[in-house]
């Protein structure tokens, strides 16, 4: 193990005033995996058919009630596997963070797995702000390096996964309401 404390030199037991050495940041964004990678991780060697849904206000309301997620669910990133499973890409928005994830649902409606695709964190203004969110739309995996540069290896308590749990709950309600009864033409 080697720890080099720069630029102050390696000293053990120093108390460091945050103001002295901190670099202010506004946004951290990390891209982990693409939609295709997430699909393969959730359902290896299956094929995926994009199956978008327009979700009625009534269903939105039922999902809101069951999950306490306020943002409406956008049903344009839903794929059906060749054996009746589903992959849904969704976003959950917390006070300071936005997480894009893929949920795999098995034929029987149980969870196959959850893959975190992107994690964006912001302080100073709400991540729920649409203008702010827009800037991350349409980014490609080739942008990963740029976005991930300089933001790794951060120690210190991070946010809990509660929002994610609520998001998954919402998608399972959507499965029970809609996807379960879907039959491929």
């Amino acid at each position: 193990m080697l720890w080099k404390l720069s630029p102050l030199g390696a000293v053990s037991g120093v108390a460091i005033g945050a103001a002295l050495v901190s670099a202010p940041i506004q946004v951290q964004a990390k891209i982990y995996v693409s939609v295709e990678q997430a699909q393969q991780l959730l359902f290896p060697s299956k094929t995926f058919t994009l199956t978008p849904f327009v979700i009625s206000e009534d269903y939105q309301e039922q999902m809101r009630k069951a999950s306490s997620v306020r943002q409406p669910f956008v049903g344009n990133r839903i794929w059906r596997t060749n054996d009746g499973g589903w992959v849904i890409v969704d976003q959950v928005v917390g006070k300071h963070e936005m997480i894009t994830y893929a949920l795999g649902i098995k034929v029987d409606g149980s969870v196959q797995g959850i893959e975190i695709m992107e994690y964006v964190e912001s302080y100073g203004y709400e991540v729920a702000d649409m203008r702010w969110r827009k800037q991350f739309e349409g980014k490609k995996t080739t942008d990963t390096l740029k976005l991930n540069a300089d933001i790794q290896n951060i120690s210190g308590a991070t946010l809990s996964c509660k929002h994610l749990t609520d998001g998954v709950k919402r998608l399972l309600v959507f499965h029970a309401l809609v996807l379960k009864n879907y039959s491929a033409k």
Binding site: S6, G156, C161
Partner: protein
């Protein structure tokens, strides 16, 4: 390749950095590392009544419990840490966390509780306790899980990488990695803490402390001797060869306020505080 999963109550990132490693190899190695973390979670969870931890809490004073070798190892190290830190690192605080509503209460012993020194570690991964105990491994299991993930990656032939479980992280291999710690009074600001090669870093602080119904902040590190929750505004970081040590020693540092505590030195670790 980098992947992230929600595990251990936080987001766990695993990244392989081998230049010559194929995608398939990296993918298999990362999958096996996540499985190791999942197993640690299953074995040591305070949220499941059937985990090895909950079985010890429920029955170890009445009968000998056979546990997974990893649980045995964590308990043995926790005992060592308890003795080296003169009681500051104490896993025998499950009842206090349950009472403060931070954990479910599966066991409610009427007899006086013992502490980790009442546990007898027998060969072949058996554990027996002289008194009822209510252990909680929340102060050590995350770091242990990171180390098991690193082992899994190494076993699959990965020579460079990083595992980061919500800020408890370990880098392995020859590369130097820049490390940063969140400023305790403003988590959007990062403090540069130099670089780390082949070692672990963990931080304890109360920055994402929640507020209870009466408006009082709820910390997450409980002082076993005073039973109070630590609410200091600073963050406490420890750099150590293994993540299990870094994780556990942040509690010793936080509760003692002493970066030069003999216990930290004993485990070849170094401590630093970032003040608000």
């Amino acid at each position: 390749m980098i992947r992230c999963q929600a595990m251990l109550g936080t987001f766990v990132e695993i990244q392989t950095l081998d230049p010559g490693c194929s995608n398939a190899q990296a993918s298999a190695a990362i999958a096996s590392a996540f499985e190791a973390i999942k197993l640690v979670e299953t074995l040591m969870s305070a949220y499941s009544a059937t985990s090895d931890l909950s079985r010890i809490n429920a029955q170890a004073h009445q009968q000998t419990i056979t546990v997974h070798p990893w649980v045995w190892e964590v308990i043995a190290l926790s005992k060592d840490l308890y003795l080296q830190s003169e009681g500051l690192f104490n896993v025998g605080i499950g009842h206090m966390l349950a009472k403060k509503g931070l954990r479910p209460a599966f066991t409610n012993h009427s007899q006086p509780l013992g502490d980790i020194t009442d546990l007898v570690l027998l060969d072949t991964f058996q554990i027996r306790s002289r008194k009822p105990v209510h252990l909680d491994l929340g102060g050590i299991a995350k770091g242990f899980a990171v180390d098991r993930a690193v082992d899994a990656l190494l076993a699959k032939g990965i020579s460079e990488g990083i595992v980061n479980a919500g800020g408890d992280l370990r880098a392995f291999g020859a590369k130097e990695h820049a490390i940063k710690v969140r400023a305790p009074n403003d988590p959007s600001r990062l403090v540069n803490m130099g670089s780390l090669t082949d070692g672990a870093l963990a931080t304890s602080a109360n920055y994402f402390t929640t507020i209870d119904k009466k408006g009082h902040p709820i910390g997450h590190v409980v002082h076993s001797q005073t039973q109070s929750l630590d609410l200091s505004p600073a963050s406490y970081s420890v750099v150590a060869p293994l993540c299990v040590l870094a994780d556990a020693l942040t509690k010793v540092f936080m509760l003692s306020g002493n970066a030069l505590h003999p216990c930290i030195n004993h485990y070849q670790a170094q401590a630093f505080q970032v003040s608000a």
